[in-house]
Amino acid sequence: MERLSRRSFVKIAGGAAGAAALAAAPPIARAAVGEEEAQPTHPKTRVPEEPLVAYVRNAERGEVTVTAGTTEHTYHDRALVKRLLRAAGRSGAGRGVG
Protein backbone atom coordinates (compact mmCIF):
# COMPACT_ATOMS: atom_id res chain seq x y z
CA MET A 1 0.00 0.00 0.00
CA GLU A 2 1.57 3.24 -1.08
CA ARG A 3 1.63 6.16 1.30
CA LEU A 4 0.23 9.29 -0.23
CA SER A 5 1.67 12.59 0.90
CA ARG A 6 0.63 15.89 -0.67
CA ARG A 7 3.90 15.86 -2.59
CA SER A 8 3.23 12.44 -4.06
CA PHE A 9 -0.40 13.33 -4.53
CA VAL A 10 0.59 16.15 -6.86
CA LYS A 11 3.07 13.91 -8.59
CA ILE A 12 0.49 11.19 -9.12
CA ALA A 13 -2.20 13.61 -10.13
CA GLY A 14 0.08 15.07 -12.80
CA GLY A 15 1.58 11.81 -13.95
CA ALA A 16 0.60 8.59 -15.55
CA ALA A 17 -2.02 7.75 -12.96
CA GLY A 18 -3.92 10.97 -13.23
CA ALA A 19 -4.01 14.68 -13.93
CA ALA A 20 -4.21 17.88 -11.93
CA ALA A 21 -6.67 20.31 -13.41
CA LEU A 22 -6.28 24.00 -12.75
CA ALA A 23 -9.28 26.25 -13.12
CA ALA A 24 -8.68 29.69 -14.54
CA ALA A 25 -7.14 31.46 -11.58
CA PRO A 26 -6.82 35.23 -11.89
CA PRO A 27 -3.63 36.89 -10.61
CA ILE A 28 -5.45 38.27 -7.56
CA ALA A 29 -6.51 34.78 -6.61
CA ARG A 30 -3.00 33.48 -7.05
CA ALA A 31 -1.64 36.16 -4.71
CA ALA A 32 -4.29 35.41 -2.12
CA VAL A 33 -3.14 31.86 -1.60
CA GLY A 34 0.57 32.46 -1.53
CA GLU A 35 1.46 32.52 2.17
CA GLU A 36 0.71 29.10 3.57
CA GLU A 37 3.15 26.23 3.65
CA ALA A 38 2.26 22.69 2.79
CA GLN A 39 1.75 20.46 5.80
CA PRO A 40 2.95 16.87 5.55
CA THR A 41 0.27 14.25 5.93
CA HIS A 42 0.47 10.51 5.90
CA PRO A 43 -2.86 9.07 4.90
CA LYS A 44 -2.89 5.34 4.32
CA THR A 45 -4.78 5.48 1.07
CA ARG A 46 -4.51 3.02 -1.74
CA VAL A 47 -3.75 4.66 -5.08
CA PRO A 48 -6.88 4.25 -7.24
CA GLU A 49 -6.68 2.49 -10.57
CA GLU A 50 -8.56 5.29 -12.28
CA PRO A 51 -7.21 8.82 -12.54
CA LEU A 52 -7.28 10.82 -9.35
CA VAL A 53 -8.07 14.37 -10.37
CA ALA A 54 -7.73 17.55 -8.34
CA TYR A 55 -9.70 20.49 -9.65
CA VAL A 56 -9.04 23.92 -8.17
CA ARG A 57 -12.61 25.10 -7.98
CA ASN A 58 -11.92 28.43 -6.35
CA ALA A 59 -8.31 29.39 -5.68
CA GLU A 60 -9.16 32.44 -3.58
CA ARG A 61 -11.19 30.34 -1.14
CA GLY A 62 -8.76 27.43 -1.25
CA GLU A 63 -11.37 25.06 -2.67
CA VAL A 64 -10.13 21.87 -4.29
CA THR A 65 -12.44 19.19 -5.61
CA VAL A 66 -10.90 15.73 -5.77
CA THR A 67 -12.46 12.98 -7.86
CA ALA A 68 -11.49 9.36 -7.38
CA GLY A 69 -13.49 6.43 -8.60
CA THR A 70 -17.11 7.51 -8.77
CA THR A 71 -16.84 9.89 -5.85
CA GLU A 72 -15.91 13.52 -5.47
CA HIS A 73 -15.20 15.64 -2.40
CA THR A 74 -14.49 19.34 -2.13
CA TYR A 75 -11.92 20.43 0.42
CA HIS A 76 -10.83 23.80 1.77
CA ASP A 77 -7.07 23.48 1.74
CA ARG A 78 -5.14 26.62 0.90
CA ALA A 79 -1.79 24.87 1.17
CA LEU A 80 -2.80 22.23 -1.36
CA VAL A 81 -4.14 24.91 -3.68
CA LYS A 82 -0.86 26.76 -3.39
CA ARG A 83 1.13 23.70 -4.37
CA LEU A 84 -1.16 22.93 -7.29
CA LEU A 85 -0.93 26.50 -8.55
CA ARG A 86 2.82 26.35 -8.29
CA ALA A 87 2.92 23.05 -10.16
CA ALA A 88 0.56 24.37 -12.81
CA GLY A 89 2.67 27.46 -13.26
CA ARG A 90 5.74 25.35 -13.94
CA SER A 91 3.89 23.40 -16.59
CA GLY A 92 2.67 26.51 -18.35
CA ALA A 93 -0.96 26.28 -17.33
CA GLY A 94 -3.08 29.34 -17.83
CA ARG A 95 -2.49 29.69 -21.54
CA GLY A 96 -5.90 30.21 -22.95
CA VAL A 97 -7.54 30.53 -26.29
CA GLY A 98 -7.84 33.79 -28.19
Binding site: A16, G18, A19, A21, E50, P51, L52, V53, Y55, T67, A68, G69, T70, T71, E72
Partner: protein
Protein backbone atom coordinates in the same frame (compact mmCIF):
# COMPACT_ATOMS: atom_id res chain seq x y z
CA UNK B 1 -36.60 14.98 -33.33
CA UNK B 2 -38.11 13.60 -31.36
CA UNK B 3 -34.92 14.40 -29.59
CA UNK B 4 -32.35 13.82 -32.32
CA UNK B 5 -29.71 16.50 -31.78
CA UNK B 6 -32.15 18.55 -29.72
CA UNK B 7 -29.70 20.42 -27.49
CA UNK B 8 -26.37 22.14 -28.20
CA UNK B 9 -24.14 19.98 -26.01
CA UNK B 10 -25.66 16.56 -26.64
CA UNK B 11 -25.81 17.21 -30.39
CA UNK B 12 -22.02 16.84 -30.31
CA UNK B 13 -22.16 13.58 -28.35
CA UNK B 14 -24.42 11.23 -30.32
CA UNK B 15 -23.56 8.00 -28.47
CA UNK B 16 -25.06 9.54 -25.34
CA UNK B 17 -27.95 11.29 -27.11
CA UNK B 18 -31.26 9.77 -26.01
CA UNK B 19 -33.25 10.30 -29.19
CA UNK B 20 -36.53 8.54 -28.34
CA UNK B 21 -38.13 6.75 -25.42
CA UNK B 22 -41.07 4.39 -25.82
CA UNK B 23 -43.14 2.59 -23.18
CA UNK B 24 -46.17 0.41 -23.81
CA UNK B 25 -47.89 -2.76 -22.70
CA UNK B 26 -46.35 -5.41 -24.93
CA UNK B 27 -48.97 -6.25 -27.58
CA UNK B 28 -47.91 -9.90 -27.85
CA UNK B 29 -47.26 -10.35 -24.13
CA UNK B 30 -49.70 -8.09 -22.25
CA UNK B 31 -48.54 -9.14 -18.81
CA UNK B 32 -45.36 -7.17 -19.55
CA UNK B 33 -44.29 -3.64 -20.33
CA UNK B 34 -41.70 -2.89 -23.01
CA UNK B 35 -39.49 0.15 -22.60
CA UNK B 36 -37.23 1.29 -25.43
CA UNK B 37 -34.60 4.03 -25.36
CA UNK B 38 -32.81 4.95 -28.57
CA UNK B 39 -29.36 6.45 -29.01
CA UNK B 40 -26.95 7.44 -31.80
CA UNK B 41 -29.50 9.31 -33.93
CA UNK B 42 -29.31 9.73 -37.70
CA UNK B 43 -27.09 6.70 -38.39
CA UNK B 44 -26.22 6.40 -42.06
CA UNK B 45 -26.26 2.64 -42.75
CA UNK B 46 -23.01 2.58 -44.79
CA UNK B 47 -21.01 4.24 -41.98
CA UNK B 48 -18.02 1.90 -41.83
CA UNK B 49 -15.46 0.62 -41.19
CA UNK B 50 -16.11 1.71 -37.60
CA UNK B 51 -19.82 1.14 -37.68
CA UNK B 52 -22.01 2.76 -35.06
CA UNK B 53 -22.06 1.43 -31.51
CA UNK B 54 -22.87 2.34 -27.93
CA UNK B 55 -20.37 4.23 -25.79
CA UNK B 56 -18.21 2.10 -23.50
CA UNK B 57 -17.84 5.19 -21.32
CA UNK B 58 -21.56 5.95 -21.06
CA UNK B 59 -24.00 4.76 -18.41
CA UNK B 60 -27.39 4.21 -20.07
CA UNK B 61 -30.38 4.25 -17.73
CA UNK B 62 -34.08 3.51 -17.86
CA UNK B 63 -36.01 5.00 -14.95
CA UNK B 64 -39.40 4.03 -13.56
CA UNK B 65 -41.36 6.06 -11.02
CA UNK B 66 -44.12 3.87 -9.61
CA UNK B 67 -45.44 6.03 -6.77
CA UNK B 68 -46.00 9.40 -8.39
CA UNK B 69 -43.16 11.28 -6.66
CA UNK B 70 -41.38 12.09 -9.96
CA UNK B 71 -38.34 10.16 -8.74
CA UNK B 72 -37.18 6.74 -9.86
CA UNK B 73 -37.94 3.76 -7.68
CA UNK B 74 -36.42 1.48 -10.30
CA UNK B 75 -33.41 2.13 -12.52
CA UNK B 76 -32.13 -0.32 -15.11
CA UNK B 77 -28.53 0.36 -16.04
CA UNK B 78 -26.75 -0.77 -19.21
CA UNK B 79 -22.94 -0.68 -19.59
CA UNK B 80 -21.11 -1.68 -22.77
CA UNK B 81 -17.69 -3.12 -23.52
CA UNK B 82 -16.12 -3.27 -26.97
CA UNK B 83 -13.78 -6.09 -27.92
CA UNK B 84 -11.51 -6.63 -30.91
CA UNK B 85 -10.77 -10.12 -32.21
CA UNK B 86 -8.04 -9.01 -34.60
CA UNK B 87 -6.10 -5.78 -34.28
CA UNK B 88 -4.21 -6.38 -37.52
CA UNK B 89 -7.00 -5.59 -39.95
CA UNK B 90 -8.89 -2.42 -40.75
CA UNK B 91 -12.06 -4.42 -41.28
CA UNK B 92 -15.10 -4.63 -39.03
CA UNK B 93 -15.49 -8.18 -40.27
CA UNK B 94 -13.16 -10.41 -42.25
CA UNK B 95 -15.88 -12.60 -43.73
CA UNK B 96 -19.59 -13.27 -43.43
CA UNK B 97 -20.96 -12.99 -39.90
CA UNK B 98 -23.25 -15.95 -39.37
CA UNK B 99 -23.46 -16.03 -35.57
CA UNK B 100 -22.79 -13.78 -32.58
CA UNK B 101 -19.58 -15.74 -31.94
CA UNK B 102 -18.43 -15.88 -35.55
CA UNK B 103 -14.63 -15.42 -35.69
CA UNK B 104 -15.12 -13.30 -38.82
CA UNK B 105 -16.74 -10.62 -36.68
CA UNK B 106 -13.90 -8.44 -35.48
CA UNK B 107 -15.37 -5.55 -33.50
CA UNK B 108 -18.07 -6.56 -31.03
CA UNK B 109 -19.94 -5.12 -28.10
CA UNK B 110 -21.01 -6.92 -24.96
CA UNK B 111 -23.04 -5.42 -22.16
CA UNK B 112 -24.18 -5.81 -18.59
CA UNK B 113 -27.54 -5.02 -17.06
CA UNK B 114 -27.94 -3.84 -13.49
CA UNK B 115 -30.95 -2.77 -11.51
CA UNK B 116 -31.27 -0.34 -8.64
CA UNK B 117 -34.42 -0.43 -6.51
CA UNK B 118 -34.97 2.26 -3.91
CA UNK B 119 -37.58 4.71 -2.71
CA UNK B 120 -37.07 7.67 -4.98
CA UNK B 121 -33.70 8.38 -6.60
CA UNK B 122 -32.09 11.19 -8.53
CA UNK B 123 -29.60 10.58 -11.33
CA UNK B 124 -26.81 11.94 -9.11
CA UNK B 125 -27.47 9.52 -6.27
CA UNK B 126 -24.99 6.64 -5.88
CA UNK B 127 -25.27 4.40 -8.91
CA UNK B 128 -24.07 0.93 -7.99
CA UNK B 129 -26.77 -1.46 -9.06
CA UNK B 130 -27.20 -5.18 -8.68
CA UNK B 131 -25.87 -6.91 -11.77
CA UNK B 132 -28.58 -9.15 -13.22
CA UNK B 133 -26.76 -10.08 -16.43
CA UNK B 134 -23.34 -9.60 -17.96
CA UNK B 135 -21.47 -10.39 -21.15
CA UNK B 136 -24.64 -10.21 -23.21
CA UNK B 137 -23.94 -9.94 -26.93
CA UNK B 138 -25.14 -7.11 -29.13
CA UNK B 139 -25.76 -7.98 -32.78
CA UNK B 140 -23.43 -6.50 -35.38
CA UNK B 141 -24.54 -3.56 -37.46
CA UNK B 142 -26.28 -4.51 -40.67
CA UNK B 143 -23.40 -4.23 -43.12
CA UNK B 144 -24.77 -5.76 -46.28
CA UNK B 145 -25.60 -9.08 -47.93
CA UNK B 146 -21.97 -10.20 -48.15
CA UNK B 147 -21.19 -9.52 -44.50
CA UNK B 148 -24.50 -10.05 -42.72
CA UNK B 149 -26.42 -12.35 -45.08
CA UNK B 150 -29.04 -13.36 -42.49
CA UNK B 151 -29.30 -10.33 -40.33
CA UNK B 152 -32.62 -11.21 -38.73
CA UNK B 153 -31.20 -14.41 -37.25
CA UNK B 154 -28.32 -12.44 -35.72
CA UNK B 155 -30.75 -9.94 -34.22
CA UNK B 156 -32.98 -12.71 -32.90
CA UNK B 157 -29.99 -14.34 -31.22
CA UNK B 158 -29.31 -11.04 -29.47
CA UNK B 159 -32.66 -11.10 -27.66
CA UNK B 160 -31.73 -12.33 -24.20
CA UNK B 161 -34.13 -13.70 -21.59
CA UNK B 162 -32.71 -13.05 -18.14
CA UNK B 163 -33.07 -15.35 -15.14
CA UNK B 164 -34.53 -12.42 -13.21
CA UNK B 165 -37.53 -12.28 -15.56
CA UNK B 166 -36.70 -9.45 -17.96
CA UNK B 167 -35.99 -9.75 -21.68
CA UNK B 168 -33.40 -7.40 -23.17
CA UNK B 169 -31.98 -6.35 -26.50
CA UNK B 170 -29.30 -3.79 -27.31
CA UNK B 171 -28.15 -3.04 -30.81
CA UNK B 172 -28.88 -1.42 -34.15
CA UNK B 173 -32.47 -1.11 -35.39
CA UNK B 174 -34.51 0.74 -37.93
CA UNK B 175 -35.36 4.17 -36.50
CA UNK B 176 -39.13 4.01 -36.05
CA UNK B 177 -39.56 7.72 -35.57
CA UNK B 178 -40.93 9.57 -38.59
CA UNK B 179 -40.97 13.31 -39.17
CA UNK B 180 -40.42 15.86 -41.93
CA UNK B 181 -37.27 17.28 -40.35
CA UNK B 182 -36.51 19.47 -43.34
CA UNK B 183 -39.90 21.18 -43.28
CA UNK B 184 -40.20 21.51 -39.51
CA UNK B 185 -36.90 23.32 -39.22
CA UNK B 186 -37.40 25.40 -42.34
CA UNK B 187 -39.50 27.76 -40.23
CA UNK B 188 -42.29 25.24 -39.82
CA UNK B 189 -43.08 25.12 -43.54
CA UNK B 190 -45.24 21.98 -43.33
CA UNK B 191 -45.52 20.61 -46.86
CA UNK B 192 -49.23 19.64 -46.65
CA UNK B 193 -50.03 23.27 -45.81
CA UNK B 194 -47.24 25.22 -47.41
CA UNK B 195 -49.59 27.22 -49.64
CA UNK B 196 -50.80 28.78 -46.38
CA UNK B 197 -47.32 29.38 -44.97
CA UNK B 198 -45.98 32.89 -44.68
CA UNK B 199 -43.17 32.09 -47.09
CA UNK B 200 -44.84 29.29 -48.99
CA UNK B 201 -44.36 29.32 -52.75
CA UNK B 202 -45.10 25.69 -53.62
CA UNK B 203 -48.27 23.66 -53.85
CA UNK B 204 -49.29 21.49 -50.94
CA UNK B 205 -47.71 18.04 -50.97
CA UNK B 206 -47.04 15.09 -48.67
CA UNK B 207 -44.26 15.32 -46.11
CA UNK B 208 -40.78 13.90 -46.64
CA UNK B 209 -39.33 11.69 -43.90
CA UNK B 210 -35.51 11.69 -43.95
CA UNK B 211 -35.39 9.13 -41.13
CA UNK B 212 -36.93 6.49 -43.39
CA UNK B 213 -33.47 5.37 -44.53
CA UNK B 214 -31.59 5.81 -41.25
CA UNK B 215 -30.87 3.54 -38.30
CA UNK B 216 -30.63 4.00 -34.55
CA UNK B 217 -29.15 2.12 -31.60
CA UNK B 218 -31.82 0.62 -29.37
CA UNK B 219 -31.83 -0.48 -25.75
CA UNK B 220 -35.04 -2.40 -25.13
CA UNK B 221 -36.27 -4.19 -22.04
CA UNK B 222 -39.45 -6.16 -21.52
CA UNK B 223 -40.43 -6.44 -17.85
CA UNK B 224 -43.34 -8.23 -16.19
CA UNK B 225 -45.75 -5.54 -14.98
CA UNK B 226 -45.67 -6.96 -11.47
CA UNK B 227 -41.93 -6.21 -11.30
CA UNK B 228 -42.58 -2.52 -11.94
CA UNK B 229 -45.61 -1.52 -9.90
CA UNK B 230 -45.38 -0.14 -6.38
CA UNK B 231 -47.01 -3.15 -4.70
CA UNK B 232 -45.76 -5.79 -7.14
CA UNK B 233 -49.29 -6.30 -8.45
CA UNK B 234 -50.65 -6.41 -11.99
CA UNK B 235 -53.34 -3.72 -11.82
CA UNK B 236 -56.63 -4.35 -13.61
CA UNK B 237 -58.40 -1.10 -12.80
CA UNK B 238 -57.37 1.83 -15.03
CA UNK B 239 -58.66 4.24 -12.38
CA UNK B 240 -56.15 3.01 -9.82
CA UNK B 241 -53.18 5.27 -9.12
CA UNK B 242 -50.90 2.25 -8.84
CA UNK B 243 -51.62 1.41 -12.48
CA UNK B 244 -49.66 4.45 -13.69
CA UNK B 245 -45.90 4.32 -14.22
CA UNK B 246 -43.71 7.33 -14.94
CA UNK B 247 -40.94 6.36 -17.35
CA UNK B 248 -37.93 8.13 -18.86
CA UNK B 249 -34.48 7.38 -20.17
CA UNK B 250 -31.15 9.00 -19.52
CA UNK B 251 -27.43 8.81 -20.24
CA UNK B 252 -24.60 9.79 -17.95
CA UNK B 253 -20.88 10.34 -18.32
CA UNK B 254 -18.16 10.49 -15.69
CA UNK B 255 -17.45 13.98 -14.45
CA UNK B 256 -13.82 14.06 -15.60
CA UNK B 257 -12.21 12.69 -18.73
CA UNK B 258 -8.43 12.48 -19.02
CA UNK B 259 -6.70 12.06 -22.38
CA UNK B 260 -3.34 10.49 -21.59
CA UNK B 261 -1.36 9.41 -24.62
CA UNK B 262 -3.52 7.10 -26.66
CA UNK B 263 -5.79 6.25 -23.74
CA UNK B 264 -8.82 8.07 -22.44
CA UNK B 265 -9.77 7.51 -18.82
CA UNK B 266 -12.50 8.77 -16.56
CA UNK B 267 -12.85 9.85 -12.97
CA UNK B 268 -15.57 11.09 -10.67
CA UNK B 269 -19.27 10.54 -10.28
CA UNK B 270 -21.68 9.92 -13.11
CA UNK B 271 -23.23 13.13 -14.46
CA UNK B 272 -26.37 13.05 -16.56
CA UNK B 273 -25.90 14.49 -20.06
CA UNK B 274 -29.14 13.43 -21.74
CA UNK B 275 -32.67 12.40 -20.83
CA UNK B 276 -35.99 11.89 -22.55
CA UNK B 277 -39.53 11.31 -21.39
CA UNK B 278 -42.17 12.85 -23.61
CA UNK B 279 -41.18 13.18 -27.25
CA UNK B 280 -40.29 16.68 -28.39
CA UNK B 281 -40.30 18.18 -24.88
CA UNK B 282 -36.73 19.44 -24.90
CA UNK B 283 -36.77 19.75 -28.67
CA UNK B 284 -39.72 22.09 -29.07
CA UNK B 285 -40.83 23.28 -25.63
CA UNK B 286 -37.54 24.24 -23.95
CA UNK B 287 -35.67 27.24 -25.44
CA UNK B 288 -32.12 26.74 -26.64
CA UNK B 289 -30.54 28.57 -23.72
CA UNK B 290 -32.03 26.08 -21.25
CA UNK B 291 -31.76 22.83 -23.22
CA UNK B 292 -28.39 21.65 -21.88
CA UNK B 293 -29.48 22.40 -18.31
CA UNK B 294 -32.71 20.48 -18.86
CA UNK B 295 -30.72 17.46 -20.02
CA UNK B 296 -28.60 17.57 -16.86
CA UNK B 297 -31.56 17.73 -14.48
CA UNK B 298 -34.05 15.09 -13.38
CA UNK B 299 -37.83 15.24 -13.90
CA UNK B 300 -38.29 16.23 -10.24
CA UNK B 301 -36.79 19.60 -11.21
CA UNK B 302 -39.12 20.29 -14.10
CA UNK B 303 -41.05 22.97 -12.27
CA UNK B 304 -38.21 25.16 -13.59
CA UNK B 305 -39.50 24.56 -17.11
CA UNK B 306 -43.23 24.71 -16.39
CA UNK B 307 -43.47 28.23 -17.82
CA UNK B 308 -42.45 26.97 -21.25
CA UNK B 309 -45.31 24.46 -21.23
CA UNK B 310 -47.83 26.99 -20.00
CA UNK B 311 -46.95 29.48 -22.74
CA UNK B 312 -45.28 27.47 -25.51
CA UNK B 313 -43.34 29.35 -28.14
CA UNK B 314 -44.72 27.14 -30.92
CA UNK B 315 -48.30 28.15 -30.11
CA UNK B 316 -47.32 31.74 -30.80
CA UNK B 317 -45.39 30.85 -33.94
CA UNK B 318 -48.20 28.96 -35.67
CA UNK B 319 -50.51 31.99 -36.07
CA UNK B 320 -47.55 34.07 -37.23
CA UNK B 321 -46.33 31.50 -39.75
CA UNK B 322 -49.80 30.71 -41.07
CA UNK B 323 -51.57 34.09 -41.22
CA UNK B 324 -55.30 33.88 -40.68
CA UNK B 325 -55.29 30.12 -40.09
CA UNK B 326 -55.17 30.07 -36.27
CA UNK B 327 -57.09 33.15 -35.08
CA UNK B 328 -58.60 31.46 -32.04
CA UNK B 329 -55.23 30.12 -30.96
CA UNK B 330 -53.71 33.57 -31.44
CA UNK B 331 -56.31 35.03 -29.10
CA UNK B 332 -55.87 32.44 -26.35
CA UNK B 333 -53.80 34.00 -23.58
CA UNK B 334 -54.46 31.58 -20.73
CA UNK B 335 -51.88 29.10 -19.50
CA UNK B 336 -52.06 25.85 -21.43
CA UNK B 337 -53.57 23.57 -18.80
CA UNK B 338 -54.10 20.92 -21.48
CA UNK B 339 -50.40 20.68 -22.33
CA UNK B 340 -49.50 20.89 -18.66
CA UNK B 341 -51.63 17.82 -17.99
CA UNK B 342 -50.45 15.88 -21.03
CA UNK B 343 -46.74 16.54 -20.50
CA UNK B 344 -46.17 17.31 -16.83
CA UNK B 345 -48.75 15.68 -14.53
CA UNK B 346 -50.69 13.19 -16.58
CA UNK B 347 -54.38 13.42 -17.36
CA UNK B 348 -56.57 13.12 -14.25
CA UNK B 349 -59.76 11.10 -14.10
CA UNK B 350 -62.82 12.80 -15.52
CA UNK B 351 -61.16 14.48 -18.50
CA UNK B 352 -61.21 11.57 -20.94
CA UNK B 353 -63.94 9.02 -20.07
CA UNK B 354 -62.45 5.80 -18.71
CA UNK B 355 -58.90 7.07 -18.79
CA UNK B 356 -56.35 8.59 -16.46
CA UNK B 357 -52.58 8.62 -16.20
CA UNK B 358 -52.24 11.19 -13.46
CA UNK B 359 -49.16 10.89 -11.27
CA UNK B 360 -49.82 13.78 -8.93
CA UNK B 361 -49.52 17.54 -9.06
CA UNK B 362 -45.72 17.80 -9.15
CA UNK B 363 -44.75 18.78 -12.71
CA UNK B 364 -42.32 16.31 -14.27
CA UNK B 365 -41.61 15.33 -17.86
CA UNK B 366 -42.13 11.57 -17.98
CA UNK B 367 -43.99 9.19 -20.20
CA UNK B 368 -46.98 8.08 -18.14
CA UNK B 369 -48.21 4.60 -18.88
CA UNK B 370 -51.41 3.20 -17.43
CA UNK B 371 -50.62 -0.51 -17.44
CA UNK B 372 -54.23 -1.52 -16.73
CA UNK B 373 -55.26 -0.41 -20.21
CA UNK B 374 -54.73 -3.37 -22.54
CA UNK B 375 -53.00 -2.99 -25.88
CA UNK B 376 -55.27 -2.17 -28.80
CA UNK B 377 -55.28 -4.92 -31.45
CA UNK B 378 -53.09 -3.96 -34.39
CA UNK B 379 -56.00 -3.73 -36.80
CA UNK B 380 -57.73 -1.18 -34.59
CA UNK B 381 -54.74 0.77 -33.31
CA UNK B 382 -54.74 4.45 -34.22
CA UNK B 383 -51.36 6.22 -34.47
CA UNK B 384 -53.01 9.42 -33.24
CA UNK B 385 -53.54 7.60 -29.93
CA UNK B 386 -55.73 8.87 -27.14
CA UNK B 387 -56.83 11.99 -29.04
CA UNK B 388 -58.33 9.67 -31.67
CA UNK B 389 -59.99 7.40 -29.11
CA UNK B 390 -57.23 4.79 -28.82
CA UNK B 391 -56.38 4.79 -25.09
CA UNK B 392 -53.37 2.48 -25.53
CA UNK B 393 -51.51 5.15 -27.50
CA UNK B 394 -49.65 8.35 -26.71
CA UNK B 395 -49.89 10.10 -24.29
CA UNK B 396 -50.66 6.86 -22.53
CA UNK B 397 -47.02 5.87 -22.75
CA UNK B 398 -45.81 5.80 -26.34
CA UNK B 399 -45.92 3.02 -28.92
CA UNK B 400 -43.30 2.76 -31.65
CA UNK B 401 -45.78 3.70 -34.38
CA UNK B 402 -47.54 6.57 -32.61
CA UNK B 403 -47.51 9.71 -34.75
CA UNK B 404 -46.28 11.94 -31.96
CA UNK B 405 -45.41 14.81 -34.31
CA UNK B 406 -48.98 15.08 -35.58
CA UNK B 407 -50.41 14.55 -32.08
CA UNK B 408 -48.30 17.26 -30.53
CA UNK B 409 -48.81 19.66 -33.45
CA UNK B 410 -52.57 19.27 -33.06
CA UNK B 411 -52.35 19.69 -29.30
CA UNK B 412 -50.13 22.78 -29.45
CA UNK B 413 -52.43 24.19 -32.16
CA UNK B 414 -55.27 24.06 -29.64
CA UNK B 415 -57.10 20.82 -30.40
CA UNK B 416 -56.82 19.63 -26.77
CA UNK B 417 -57.66 22.91 -25.02
CA UNK B 418 -61.41 22.06 -24.81
CA UNK B 419 -60.55 19.06 -22.64
CA UNK B 420 -59.82 21.51 -19.84
CA UNK B 421 -61.42 24.73 -21.09
CA UNK B 422 -64.77 24.11 -22.80
CA UNK B 423 -65.11 27.84 -23.56
CA UNK B 424 -62.43 27.56 -26.23
CA UNK B 425 -63.28 26.64 -29.82
CA UNK B 426 -60.29 25.27 -31.70
CA UNK B 427 -59.47 26.63 -35.12
CA UNK B 428 -60.53 24.32 -37.93
CA UNK B 429 -56.90 23.71 -38.84
CA UNK B 430 -55.99 22.45 -35.37
CA UNK B 431 -57.43 18.99 -35.95
CA UNK B 432 -55.87 18.80 -39.42
CA UNK B 433 -52.34 20.03 -38.89
CA UNK B 434 -49.65 17.44 -39.52
CA UNK B 435 -46.20 17.21 -41.02
CA UNK B 436 -47.64 14.77 -43.54
CA UNK B 437 -45.31 11.83 -42.92
CA UNK B 438 -46.14 8.20 -42.27
CA UNK B 439 -43.94 5.19 -41.60
CA UNK B 440 -43.26 3.01 -44.60
CA UNK B 441 -43.08 -0.79 -44.63
CA UNK B 442 -40.43 -2.53 -42.54
CA UNK B 443 -40.30 0.17 -39.92
CA UNK B 444 -41.63 -2.07 -37.15
CA UNK B 445 -42.09 -5.71 -36.28
CA UNK B 446 -44.76 -7.49 -34.24
CA UNK B 447 -42.38 -8.92 -31.65
CA UNK B 448 -39.77 -7.63 -29.25
CA UNK B 449 -37.90 -5.30 -29.73
CA UNK B 450 -40.67 -4.06 -32.07
CA UNK B 451 -38.44 -1.77 -34.16
CA UNK B 452 -37.74 -3.23 -37.59
CA UNK B 453 -34.62 -4.67 -39.19
CA UNK B 454 -31.99 -1.95 -39.63
CA UNK B 455 -31.22 -0.82 -43.15
CA UNK B 456 -28.09 -2.45 -44.51
CA UNK B 457 -25.20 -0.33 -45.69
CA UNK B 458 -24.88 -1.94 -49.11
CA UNK B 459 -28.44 -1.39 -50.24
CA UNK B 460 -29.18 1.90 -48.54
CA UNK B 461 -30.00 4.49 -49.67
CA UNK B 462 -30.03 3.00 -53.15
CA UNK B 463 -32.81 0.52 -52.42
Amino acid sequence: MSSHREAPAISQDPVADNADTYAFVSPDDPSTVTIITNYVPLEGPPGGPNFFEFGDDVLYSIYVDNDGDAKAEIEYQFRFRTTLQNEDTFLYNTGPITSLTDPNWNKRQLYSVSVVRSSGRDSDDPREGTVIAKNLACPPCNIGPASTPDYDSLAAAAVHSLPSGETVFAGQRNDGFFVDLGAIFDLGDLRPFQSLHLGGTLANMPGVDPLSSLNIHTIAIKVPIAMLTRDRSTPGDPASAKAVLGIWGGASRRKVQVRDGDTVRQSGPWVQVSRLGNPLFNEVIVPIGDKDRWNALDPINDNQFEKYVNQPELAKLLPALYPGVFPNLAGYAKNRADLHAILLTGIPSGVVPGFQNFTGPHPADMLRLNVAIPPTPAADANPIGLVAGDPAGFPNGRRVFDDVVAIELKAVAGATIPLVDPSFTPDGAAALVTDGTAPGPGRYQDTFPYLGTPHDGYDTPSS
